[in-house]
Symmetry: C2
Subunit: 302 residues, 2 copies
């Protein structure tokens, strides 16, 4: 679909996912305003043909605003803070909340935006850095039909698939929370499995090759397994992301009377990894904690 001329998109937070979304919007023909606090990232975005701003307020008015910051605290800052987006946004602007947040936090932010005359889509995403770069992320979206219509071209530009989960804000965040429960437990399980494999003397590459095509496989085992097998903990997604996301899972479960023993166990492992100084390493580094507990040395460990 051709994007109409003069369509303007702002992307707040040019991290792993936001950067890919911003480039995808540029490729689709949008004028894109990128916002980030890191000057080197802004410089790189200008080199790609984007406009770059240090604060959302400076970016000014747009048709759609993607919020790709890390957590609900930052989301509140970039939207409602002194230099936040709301200070210069025009009524009717569609805000796409792509941050993984507790459903209650998403709802709170959406209500404040709507009270100011803005439109909102609860729009957490899945797919990782590579799919963000190619404009092929999955959006778990909920919100009013007119918001989806007004943001259709922008959603088309960044995603391969948009799930329309309903009109209620919060549905997207809830489904994303369930996805993160599984993703986090599966990463920790991959770490536990490969660490035990090493402990009983198995060759990790062989184990990986067999499990990948067996009933024990998962998207995360297939994706993160090689990080552990190769001992490569260059952060694609960091340990601290899952300290946050599994914290949302266990917190929301507690608040609703739900029981999440596996999430709690996985959270404990990610928290231990973070406390050991591994918070910014790849999330597969949770294996190092299990390896230390087990007295085994995995590839890439001293």
């Amino acid at each position: 679909m051709e994007v109409a001329s003069n369509r303007i998109a702002t992307v707040i937070g040019l991290g792993s996912m936001g950067w890919g979304a911003a480039l995808s919007l540029l490729r689709a023909g949008f004028s894109v305003k990128g916002v980030d606090i890191r000057p080197t990232v802004l410089e790189a975005f200008r080199a790609e043909g984007g406009q770059a701003f240090a604060t959302p307020a400076e970016a000014g008015s747009s048709d759609v605003v993607f919020v790709f910051v890390v957590n609900s605290y930052q989301a509140n800052q970039v939207l409602f803070g002194e230099t936040g987006a709301l200070s210069t946004a025009s009524p009717g602007t569609v805000f796409l909340l792509c941050v993984t947040m507790a459903p209650s936090a998403t709802l709170d932010i959406a209500q404040k935006l709507e009270a100011a005359g803005m439109r909102v889509i609860d729009a957490p995403v899945s797919g990782g850095h590579v799919k963000a770069l190619s404009g092929e992320i999955t959006v778990m979206g909920s919100g009013a039909d007119d918001a989806f219509e007004a943001a259709q071209d922008a959603l088309d530009a960044v995603s391969a698939k948009v799930f329309r989960l309903g009109s209620d804000i919060g549905l997207g965040s809830k489904v994303k929370m369930i996805n993160q429960l599984l993703a986090g437990v599966h990463i920790a399980a991959a770490a536990e499995a490969l660490t035990l494999a090493a402990k009983v003397g198995l060759d990790l590459q062989t184990v990986y090759d067999v499990i990948k095509v067996s009933a024990g496989s998962s998207w995360m085992f297939e994706n993160r397994g090689p990080h552990i097998v190769d001992g490569d903990y260059t952060p694609r997604s960091a340990v601290d992301i899952f300290v946050k996301d599994l914290g949302i899972v266990t917190g929301e479960a507690k608040q609703n009377g739900g029981e999440t023993p596996l999430s709690a166990t996985a959270l404990s492992l990610f928290s231990q990894a973070s406390a050991a100084g591994l918070g910014r390493e790849d999330d597969a580094a949770v294996a190092k904690i299990l390896a230390r507990m087990s007295g085994v040395t995995l590839p890439g460990m001293e």
Copy 2:
């Protein structure tokens, strides 16, 4: 590959996997002797064109013997008991140990068979009932080259893929154990995720459809998820299988100084399900335990 005439295979244990393997061997041209303690199963196997026996001793000599019983206790009984296979087996017979057992139990059994002049393949399988029926299971095999050569036609008949993990008996069982660690944790994680989804008011079919194509997916989520969504706990594989298999995982880990906190948490859930009388239901029934703990009613629950 054409199977030579007069090739004889015995299959001990015509359960979910053994039944499929036995039919696959018949289709490939083997004379197949099926052994089971259940008269109705023997009758059904005769109707399929097989020979049927109540004890391995009665079945007499064969070229290859598949052992598809449930655990190491039964394996010892059907091999070394009074009416066990060893009492009538000819030296050189290849025994394929397809039971999921602790690696140490497999090694012990193999040593006793080899001391009696038999050949052994440590040959746990993966794939489930449907793939067993179509002769497409995966074998995680280890053993001597001559044993693999002598059983090649039989392995071809029952499997789509045979991993040759090395000559040491125990390697197959170790890799299978790692697979079961992941499989068991993933089933429990699927149950935890869908139960929390129900608790926060999400539509389970929608959650399943979204997660299945997202980073939270797993082979087990995709396979067992529908059992929970539909409330259908007809046993394809039972809760008690994972009480056993995760017991092997945590036991072997403990014996080797490994740490398996997620396996222990999942084992606790399967054990609670078994204690609540759900041991023979489908393994996805572990969700009922989480649902009771959470005060939510899943499909198929009263």
